[in-house]
Amino acid sequence: MRTDEDLCLAAAITFAYENEVPTEMVDVDLVTRDQFDSLMRYRTECRAKAASVASPEYNHFTWMSPSYNWFKPGEEHDSNCNFGGNLFIASVQGKSRSRIWWRSYIYEAKSRLETRPWGSTVTSGDFFDQALKEGSQCRCCRENLDRDFRQFTNIFADKIDEAVSQARYRISLSGNLSLTSVFGVGFVDVGRPSIRAQFISIFSSIDMPYCFSDLFTIHRFYSLPLSHIALLEYHLFIVKFIQLSVKGKRVQKNSFPLMAFPHHDSDMPKKSTSSVHNVGKDKPAFGSRCVCPLSTDFW
């Protein structure tokens, strides 16, 4: 169990590094490998979310107000206040025109948000001062610039925080889900080294109602988090799907559904007829004798 302080430190370290984060924190057991992976993915997602506020799709800034001075038509600006490109604002019809100093602020904000995805990144710093300085050189932009620009950046920062809060922290499963093609055996290798267990199911012997009840047995037995159980459920759906598509013969309903394990060579499918089409026909019945009960010493 990690302390909150450790988790905070790990998060702070992850977000402090721009690119690669050294895996030392996993080596010294500050966080688990899975948590580290989740953190890295969360960081990537946060950065994408934050950057998307500064550079939205189709250049359409839905959160912006069109009333600022720097969006006024070009004729009102000084000749040295250059045109900075078109953009779309909220529900305003047609294109709006921006100034180059504003545009470079937004570009810089985007590139900074890609490493520091939080709102306060854009409300201060040298590029913020630079924008204020350049904006105040134009007769039109200058008006109420200090107040307006600060208000604008505060809304900008709020929107960034809002977008980042929508990033999802996904629990990482170092295990993977794969269905082997040979015997129709699905392996689900679930996560954490401490509770690593491999669940094997043979699809011809699966019966859904049994499976779901057994998932909860597994949940209790191995104290697996429910997210892993969800993965198993997903796996079983795939298995069911394959079962239906192959239309292989069903075996006894009362055979143990999830953890059937072939004990004898005769339980394996015959090699000679193992073309895709007769997989179902030749599949031997994985019956009650290849049942492997849930026992801790087996694993």
Partner: protein, 155 residues
């Protein structure tokens, strides 16, 4: 030439009792039950229990037959420089303020990892990261991440 002779002298001197010195406080008290002799011939008096978080050292201390004794306390030779070893021992002993550690924390952490002392290495790592003065991530953001991570923790 100077370097060779220096390392040679250092390794030789650790073998000759006349050249061995006792470490300064707090590793010089005689109420300790193990002596670690660094490669440059400094004796560190400490408790076995403080080193027991390391399975490597535990094995080493229980299986090694000490060739020498200092006041009846067995001496275990180590092949690590005294500065780093002192730093490590500071982190091992809960009653010693580890902030006074003068050795580079990275070396101390590596030494802790060498002897498989995860908790100690973690403590060193924490201090090292705090020293680095990482860019300030807003605390509310950290709180959110921490909450999500602790939901992910098993049990």
């Amino acid at each position: 030439m100077y370097l060779i002779s220096r390392t040679f002298l250092m390794s030789i001197s650790a073998l000759i009792p006349a050249f061995v010195t006792t470490a300064d406080a707090p590793f010089n008290l005689d109420r300790k039950n193990i002596v670690l002799r660094s490669e440059d011939g400094i004796d560190f008096y400490t408790f076995k229990a403080h080193l027991s978080s390391s399975s490597v050292l535990r094995h080493l201390l229980s299986s090694a037959t000490p060739g020498a004794f200092a006041d009846g306390v067995p001496i275990i030779p180590f092949y690590d420089p005294s500065t780093v070893l002192r730093g490590l021992l500071r982190y091992c002993d809960p009653y010693i303020d580890s902030r006074l550690c003068s050795a580079p924390l990275e070396d101390v952490q590596n030494l802790a990892m060498k002897y498989d002392m995860r908790p100690t290495a973690r403590a060193v790592y924490r201090d090292r990261m705090r020293e680095l003065r990482l860019p300030l991530v807003p605390s509310d953001m950290l709180d959110v991440i921490r909450l999500r991570m602790s939901q992910d923790e098993d049990r």
